[in-house]
C-alpha cells in the first residue's frame, strides 16, 4: 500500500458498522482510514476527491463471484473480474472454486492470489472446495486451503448430495474456523428443470424446478449445522420457504447466515416469458415467483438474509446463444448490483442504511473478512456512489468479459464513480460514460 494521503470531501458518509450517516470528510493515509470527521483541514498539496451529492461507503464486499481463472479465461480472468468488481464499487470479492482445475489445493489458491496481486484492483479472497475435485465424495484439505489463503469452503455450482459428507464437512471445517457455503438443490427434484416451476414454466413449455428442491436441502443443512455446531452459509437463497427456514434457525441461535442475489431480489420467473426465452434470465437457482421475491426482500430487510452477493457468472455467447434448455446457467452482476438493489430503496423495501450494510459489513462479517467499515484504522477500501446517476446498461461496455446481463438496455439509477482499495484509486468513472 502506498503512503499517499487522500481526502474525500463533501460526501454523505454511510457506514452502518460505526453508525455514521452524514456529511463527513474521510481521510485515507498509508492504506488505512485515518480520519472520518465533520471538518478536517486539508493541507495544501494533498489530493482531494469531491464527493458532494454522493455517498461515501465502505468498499462493497461480494461473497460469491465466478472469476473463471484458471481454465476458462475466454469467459473471464481474475483481472477482468477484478476490474468489473471495482467498476461496480466492490473492493473485495470471494472467488468460487469451480475453475479448471478446481480450487481444492494450495497451488490453485496461490495462482488466483498471484493473479489478483498482479492486477492490483479488488481484493480477491479464494473459496476452496468442500470436496476433493468437487466430486462430492471425500473432504478436501481444509487446513492446506486455509493456509494458502482460502476464506470459506464451497462446492458451488453443485449441491453436496451426500448428507454424511456434508455433516463431516461442517464438523471438520470447525478446526479451521471456515464457513461452509452451500449451493442448495436436490438434483432428483430438479430433474431436467430449467426454470422455476409454476404457471410461467407451464405456459412456456419449459421443465420446472420446484422451490422445494432448494428448501429440502436448506432444511437438511440447518439440521446438520445444529448437529455439528458448524458454520453454515446459504448461498443465493431464492425461495420463501428457505427464508422461513433460515429465520427459524437464527432464532434458535444456530450459526447460520445467508446471502441473496440482486436478481432474486428484483426479477421473477415471469421475466423469462416477457423476454421471450432470453437466456440472460437463466440461472441457478432460477428466478422465482413474485411471492418468493417478496419473501426474499423481507428476509433481507429483517436481517434473516445477511447480505447481497452477486453470483457473478460470466459466460460467452457459445454457452448462451442457444435454446433456453441448452444454455448455461448464470449472469454477470458486479457492474449492475448497486443500481439494481438501489431500486429496492426507492420502492420502500429496504432502508439506505440496510442496503449499504448488506453490501458491506454484513458480508464481511459472514466470512470474517477485514473491511466493510470506514472505522478509523480499517483498510482504506472505499466506494463513492452516485445514487442519482441514470445510465443505460450497455453490456458492450462492461469491464467483465461477460455480456450475459438481464439488464441489457435497461435504464438504471445509481452508479459507482470512484473506488479505492488500500487507499489507492483503482476506478474512476469516465465523465463521458453514463
Amino acid at each position: 500500500m502506498n503512503g499517499e494521503t487522500i481526502f474525500i470531501e463533501g460526501g454523505r458518509v454511510i457506514d452502518p458498522a460505526s453508525g455514521t450517516d452524514g456529511v463527513r470528510t474521510v481521510v485515507l493515509r498509508d492504506g488505512r482510514i485515518a480520519e472520518v470527521a465533520e471538518r478536517w483541514e486539508r493541507p495544501r498539496d494533498v489530493r482531494a476527491i469531491d464527493a458532494r451529492g454522493r455517498w461515501v461507503v465502505p468498499g462493497l464486499v461480494d461473497l460469491h463471484v465466478h472469476l473463471r481463472e484458471p481454465g476458462q479465461e475466454y469467459k473471464e480472468t481474475v483481472e477482468t473480474g477484478a476490474r468489473a468488481a471495482v467498476a461496480g464499487g466492490f473492493t473485495a470479492v470471494c472467488a468460487m472454486p469451480n475453475t479448471s482445475p478446481v480450487n481444492d489445493n494450495a497451488s490453485v489458491t496461490e495462482l488466483m492470489l498471484a493473479r489478483a496481486a498482479a492486477a492490483g484492483l479488488a481484493r480477491v479472497y479464494p473459496v476452496g472446495c468442500i470436496s476433493r475435485g468437487l466430486k462430492g465424495e471425500e473432504l478436501a484439505e481444509y487446513g492446506e486451503l486455509k493456509s494458502a489463503g482460502c476464506v470459506a469452503l464451497s462446492d458451488d455450482g453443485k449441491p453436496v448430495t451426500s448428507s454424511a459428507l456434508m455433516r463431516r464437512a461442517l464438523e471438520y471445517a470447525r478446526a479451521f474456523e471456515l464457513p461452509v457455503t452451500v449451493h442448495e438443490e436436490d438434483l432428483g427434484l430438479v430433474g431436467k428443470g430449467v426454470m422455476n416451476e409454476g404457471p410461467t414454466a407451464t405456459r412456456l413449455g419449459l421443465k420446472g424446478i420446484p422451490t422445494a428442491s432448494e428448501e429440502v436441502m436448506v432444511l437438511r443443512d440447518i439440521a446438520l449445522a445444529e448437529l455439528t455446531g458448524g458454520r453454515l452459509h446459504v448461498a443465493h437463497l431464492s425461495s420463501a420457504g428457505s427464508v422461513r427456514a433460515v429465520r427459524d434457525a437464527k432464532r434458535r441461535g444456530l450459526r447460520v447466515s445467508a446471502e441473496a442475489t440482486p436478481h432474486h431480489l428484483t426479477l421473477t420467473d415471469e421475466d423469462v416469458a416477457r423476454s421471450r426465452y432470453d437466456t440472460s434470465f437463466k440461472m441457478n437457482p432460477p428466478l422465482r415467483s413474485a411471492a418468493d421475491v417478496r419473501a426474499v426482500r423481507e428476509g433481507l430487510a429483517d436481517g434473516t438474509i445477511d447480505c447481497i452477493a452477486t453470483d457473478h457468472a460470466p459466460h460467452s455467447a457459445v454457452e448462451k446463444d442457444l435454446e433456453f434448455e441448452a444454455a448455461a446457467n448464470g449472469i454477470v452482476g458486479l457492474e449492475t448490483a448497486f443500481a439494481v438493489c438501489l431500486a429496492l430503496v426507492r420502492e420502500g423495501a429496504l432502508s439506505e442504511t440496510r442496503l449499504v450494510e448488506a453490501f458491506t459489513i454484513a458480508a464481511a462479517r459472514a466470512f470474517g473478512l477485514p473491511g466493510g467499515t470506514l472505522a478509523r484504522g480499517a483498510p482504506a477500501d472505499v466506494a463513492i456512489l452516485d445514487p442519482g446517476l441514470t445510465w443505460r446498461c450497455d453490456p458492450g461496455r462492461f469491464r467483465s468479459k461477460g455480456r450475459n446481463s438481464p439488464w441489457k438496455d435497461a435504464l438504471l439509477v445509481g452508479r459507482c464513480t470512484h473506488t479505492l482499495v488500500g487507499g489507492r484509486l483503482v476506478h474512476e468513472l469516465d465523465r463521458g460514460e453514463p
Binding site: P199, R203, L206, D321, L322, E323, F324, A326
Partner: protein
C-alpha cells in the same frame, strides 16, 4: 403477416380476430384442396424450408403438401439432434438456411422456445411446427377449424356448397375436455389458448403427475377423474401418451393409465353426450388412450383433423410468405379463383 405478427410461434400471442382471420382463409384453402387438380400458382417462386429436429412425418408432410398445392418450393432439412449433441448450434443452422433465402422457415424442435430463438436471428418468417412442450399452433388452429365444422353442422357437406362454411362463432360457450399428459403436451397448450380465445370452456384431465401448475391461470378447470371431465362436454381431445413417460415416473404403466384415463366404447356410451366428438392429434396409441373402436367410431373426427391440417397450413404459409397483399378475404378469393 398474421394480423400484427410476422411469425407464428404460438397461439398465445394472437388475438381472437387474428386467429379467426387464419381460420376464415382456410375455408378457401380447403376448397382448393378438394378440387380435382390441387394446384394454384399463388406462392409460385416462394421457398418454404421445413427444418425438423424431431421426426414427425405427419406434420412435415402436411406442411409440405400445403406448400406444394400453393406452388411454393418446399425443401426439407432434417436434423436428428439439437445443439447440445451436434457441433453446430441452432443459430448457426438457422443462419445457414437463411443464406438460401427462404420466405418461410417451418421449424419443429424438441426445445421449448427454439422457434423464437430462430426468429430472433433470421429475417424470413418463422412458423413453429411444434417446440418441446410449448406450443403447436397449426395443430391448435386445425382443431379449432374441425370443432367449428362440427358445431356449425357443416361436417360432410361439400365445400363451396351454400351454407357449408363453418361458423367460428359456434365454438363460444362450448365445453371441451383435454385429456392426457398435459404437462408434456404442446398440443394441449395451443388448444387451450385457441379454445379459450374463441370463448369455449376448457377442462383438462389426467393423472395429477401429468397436470402442470397454473392451468387455472390459463383459464382451464382441472379434473383428475375422467368421468367428471368428459360428462356434458361437447368435444374431447385425447392426447397421446408417450411411452418414455412411463417410469419417468409419472405413471406406473399403460395398463393402469388406460383403465382410468383411457376412453373405450363403454365409457363413451355411458358418459358422453350424443353429440360429443373425439379429437386426437395422432398418432393414436390404440388401446392406451383410445380403444380402436372409439378411434375409428362415429364420434371420431381424427381424419377431418388431418384434412383440415393441410388447409390450415396453406393459410399460414400464404399469410406469412408475403403473398398476402390486402385483406384476407380478397387474398382467399385470389387463391380460390386461380
Amino acid at each position: 403477416m398474421i394480423g400484427r405478427h410476422r411469425h407464428l410461434i404460438g397461439l398465445e400471442p394472437l388475438s381472437r380476430e387474428e386467429i379467426v382471420g387464419v381460420l376464415q382463409l382456410a375455408i378457401s384453402m380447403k376448397e382448393v384442396l378438394r378440387r380435382p387438380i390441387k394446384k394454384v400458382p399463388t406462392l409460385r417462386g416462394k421457398a418454404v424450408v421445413n427444418l425438423f429436429f424431431e421426426a414427425s412425418t405427419r406434420t412435415r408432410t402436411s406442411f409440405e403438401t400445403a406448400a406444394k398445392i400453393l406452388s411454393a418450393d418446399a425443401l426439407n432439412w432434417t436434423s436428428a439432434s439439437s445443439s447440445v449433441t451436434k457441433g453446430e448450434t441452432l443459430v448457426d443452422t438457422a443462419r445457414n438456411i437463411e443464406a438460401m433465402h427462404p420466405d418461410v422457415l417451418v421449424i419443429r424442435h424438441p426445445a421449448g422456445g427454439a422457434p423464437q430463438l430462430v426468429a430472433d436471428h433470421v429475417s424470413c418468417a418463422v412458423v413453429s411446427a411444434g417446440d418441446g412442450a410449448h406450443e403447436h399452433p397449426s395443430q391448435g388452429l386445425l382443431d379449432l377449424y374441425t370443432l367449428a365444422e362440427h358445431f356449425s353442422g357443416v361436417r360432410g357437406k361439400a365445400v363451396g356448397e351454400k351454407g357449408a362454411a363453418p361458423n367460428f362463432g359456434s365454438i363460444a360457450g362450448k365445453t371441451i375436455a383435454i385429456v392426457g399428459d398435459v404437462s408434456h403436451s404442446r398440443v394441449a397448450r395451443s388448444d387451450l389458448h385457441g379454445f379459450t380465445k374463441l370463448g369455449a370452456r376448457v377442462r383438462v384431465c389426467g393423472p395429477p403427475t401429468m397436470i402442470p401448475q397454473g392451468m387455472e391461470t390459463l383459464g382451464a378447470t382441472v379434473h383428475y377423474q375422467l368421468r367428471e371431465a368428459v360428462e356434458g362436454a361437447d368435444a374431447v381431445v385425447m392426447l397421446r401418451i408417450q411411452h418414455e413417460r412411463i417410469g419417468d415416473p409419472l405413471i406406473p404403466g399403460t395398463r393402469e393409465y388406460s383403465k382410468f384415463w383411457g376412453l373405450n366404447e363403454k365409457k363413451a356410451a355411458e358418459w358422453l353426450t350424443p353429440g360429443c366428438v373425439i379429437l386426437h392429434p395422432g398418432p393414436v396409441n390404440r388401446g392406451v388412450e383410445l380403444a380402436p373402436e372409439v378411434a375409428d367410431g362415429a364420434r371420431s373426427v381424427i381424419l377431418d383433423q388431418v384434412e383440415n391440417g393441410v388447409a390450415i397450413r396453406m393459410a399460414i404459409l400464404y399469410l406469412l410468405a408475403g403473398g398476402a397483399q390486402g385483406a384476407h378475404t380478397s387474398a382467399a378469393e385470389g387463391a380460390a379463383r386461380s
